[in-house]
Symmetry: C2
Subunit: 474 residues, 2 copies
């Protein structure tokens, strides 16, 4: 394959879901891509993953191959009634409110309408495997662990150095290397607390369970539909991940600290989970009884306490969890990474190439400006998610659920849960694309004027100020 001279060469660091979706989107658009993954093989932690319709729309725009991978991975539409083509996310009381005449009863609290085929869920490992198949040969480079990025203004290319002593050059670097991002630490510095993930004081236990066993444990109705069970200091979500398997996750509050040097996965046991859920409803305990006796305990870290102040620097930008790792309580972390990718694919390579050709901008300068636009477009929404995820977990896990006198208060949280969920699900990706192109054009237009005024090469490092236009003093 030959490339036009203005086509950028992009290095992607990290081969998780978001990095592979980005590789699929950029290669489809004719970009020269090299993806570097530190591991020997691709692997995904966690059990299932779900995407709402707005995210699948973004995937379609990025590359039909991504949707193909999602669906060939055996994804299912969840939360369907036989009589209703819509998907729902149902919240129910997981604690107390037992009825003597029906030990399986749980009080319904909220039903969120996700629309027609509004939720597609899949096993994480299957989705990842099928995503890899969508990436052209020669793009993926395994066992390449990043050690340094050298981005010097007077050099034509950025240099990536790896721990094996090798290095490569690219016009820009997009880091999708996750919550423990090495690229983030390189950009922010080792002494910046935002370089390191922060413990959210929640631990998760995940399991994949055969559907027939789940039916016996919690009943047919709940088994086939996505349900969130809420209660004091814990919550449990479950949904089908394919036609014969249920993915279930229990999240439990943990007042203790989790040192950063301790692995984020520890050995746990079903017994621990059952103890934490001792007084919960029968279906919840039944379901947890189907978890393996020994299971992993995942400490949930995020970037809420020390957010990344800026997602880009020069010709490097952070995408997905590397930029805005969130706790998983909205089930939207990967979705927001997919939105990030669509934002970048809106500019690269069509817009960047046009500016390179028509404005005689260097590829590096065109990409620098694109990353500025990316930061501006994505920052507010993604930071909101990080905060909102912690917030809804607090609402799901209100200690008030355990106090009958506080139940009216506890239940009043769901208007907020609805608003927050709809803010995620009703994302207008078409508007983001329009805003992205407009901002990028204005930004490069402005850089062009400055260039003319100064008569020197433009670095396109414009508008990094976060002061609004109504800045004032007394």
């Amino acid at each position: 394959m030959t490339y036009a001279p203005e086509t950028p060469e992009i290095a992607i660091v990290g081969g998780g879901i978001v990095g592979l979706v980005l590789a699929a989107g950029l290669t489809r658009r004719g970009v020269q891509v090299k993806l570097f993954e530190q591991a020997r093989n691709f692997r995904e932690i966690g059990a299932g993953i779900g995407f709402t319709r707005n995210t699948v729309n973004c995937m379609e725009k990025i590359s039909p191959g991504v949707v193909r991978a999602l669906r060939s991975g055996g994804s299912v539409n969840v939360s369907l009634d036989q009589t209703d083509p819509k998907s729902y996310l149902r919240y129910i009381n997981g604690y107390g409110l037992q009825r003597e005449d029906d030990p399986m009863y749980q009080k319904p609290l909220l039903r969120l309408d996700a629309g027609i085929k509004g939720w597609e869920t899949v096993r994480r490992d299957q989705f990842l495997d099928d995503l890899v198949k969508e990436i052209p040969e020669g793009v993926i480079h395994l066992q390449k662990k990043l050690s340094m990025i050298v981005d010097e203004e007077d050099r034509d290319k950025v240099v990536l150095q790896f721990t094996d002593g090798t290095s490569v050059e690219a016009d820009a670097v997009i880091a999708t290397d996750g919550i423990k991002s090495t690229a983030r630490k390189i950009l922010l510095g080792a002494d910046n607390p935002a370089s390191y993930p922060q413990y959210s004081h929640k631990v998760a236990y995940r399991a994949l369970i055969p559907m027939d066993k789940v039916i016996a444990a919690i009943g047919e109705y709940k088994t086939h539909k996505q349900h969130m069970h809420v209660g004091p200091n814990a919550h449990l979500i479950h949904y089908p991940v394919n036609t014969n398997t249920i993915g279930a996750t229990v999240v439990i509050s943990d007042p203790n600290n989790w040192p950063l040097d301790k692995p984020t996965t520890a050995r746990g046991s079903r017994k621990d989970v059952l103890e934490a859920l001792a007084n919960w409803s029968l279906p919840v305990r039944n379901l947890v009884n189907l978890f393996p006796e020994e299971l992993d305990q995942w400490a949930l870290f995020d970037l809420a306490e020390y957010p990344v102040p800026k997602y880009n620097k020069g010709r490097v930008c952070l995408v997905g969890d590397a930029a805005h790792a969130s706790s998983p309580h909205h089930g939207a972390g990967a979705s927001f990474g997919v939105e990030d990718v669509l934002c970048l694919c809106t500019m690269i390579p069509e817009q960047t190439g046009q500016f390179t050709r028509e404005l005689n901008l260097s590829k590096g300068d065109a990409l620098r400006a694109a990353f500025e636009t990316y930061d501006k477009m994505r920052r507010t929404r993604t930071q909101w998610l990080v905060n909102s995820s912690r917030r809804v977990c607090d609402l799901f896990q209100q200690p008030d659920w355990a106090d009958p006198a506080k139940r009216v208060k506890a239940e009043s949280c769901f208007e907020e849960v609805k608003d927050r969920s709809f803010q995620i699900w009703h994302f207008d990706s078409g508007k983001m694309e329009e805003d992205t192109i407009r901002d990028y054009k204005e930004r490069v237009g402005a850089s062009r004027k400055i260039k003319k005024m100064n008569g020197v090469s433009c670095k396109a490092t414009l508008d990094t100020s976060s002061e609004p236009e109504w800045l004032f003093s007394a």
Copy 2:
């Protein structure tokens, strides 16, 4: 004046802003209204009050007299730039971030667009005085303190008893007797914690200050515009309440308890406030220095911890603070009471009269059903406000503001502040009116069918269940 036989007679308990707005709306619609206020005179606590455009729209629909009272009370549109006809609410950093070259500098954080003439503010006492003038003679009865409501199913009328031994009858009672509502205690019972307001662990200090002094203290720009100064464990808001006066409120966190039997107002001093704001920006301290040396300290109570489970019972309903007293941090407590009033005026007397005439429903039954609809229409939004007001106060007063390493995190709250404010300001009152009429018709239509089936008088106490239609067990 003579009334058609189907015109209901309504007793209003409590003569605050919401009670008077209700009296104005109902009398304008030809309802026979008696308003009972326990005090010897009308008086309003607090300094200024502001209404956004959506609330003024509701007032216009309730009665042009309410808007007339607002404006004759000297209301002003605040937060105007000379070049911009819109009103804004501006959030600025009140703590730290001093600039050596400009001691009056404060970092701007958020500017919320309230639209053209989007905020009208007024002195509370002036608004109340002018509202009273809009109420027809003979409606208002002062020095009438409610002691009991007797609402017996087989009696044609509800009886209100007062502490002076007198009593009156009415077709229904609407209680607007505020956060310490007697009617609420009668409905819920003295042993229900929701009968009593709950301390929100915030105290407020309010002052009215001549504008020329404020200009000298904080500068001309800030003086004429509404500003919220945020910082650790406190916040301060100020805005013009007429052409020569500024209303300012400081809210300070208080970890202590405030016993319910202690008066909610205590003596405080400017010195206390200055101590709490010791390290704040110069303009904040300058402004507080203009407060009187001795001033009232208001303990802020609300109904957040123990919300009222239902706003109506039989022929009695709770409106405004009596139903859903909120802390004042959204500045929307009275506004939500005004929305409540519009909801009731949508049904009374036109719809209630029509059902009384055409369906041969008793006035009491028509009003019972109307109050059910009122509860359904208003409950979710008003409970949301009570929670949201506490939430935004927590965001304004994040301890993180004091820690330079946490400033990026602290500032990330404003997307949520914006969403919450717009949820208040962008209220579609026309949709509420439509939904109210539809629900009321369906409710009475259903009651009519039941009536036909049973062949007995309908009590119209339908659909009190809060279980959603997707109720299920296993």
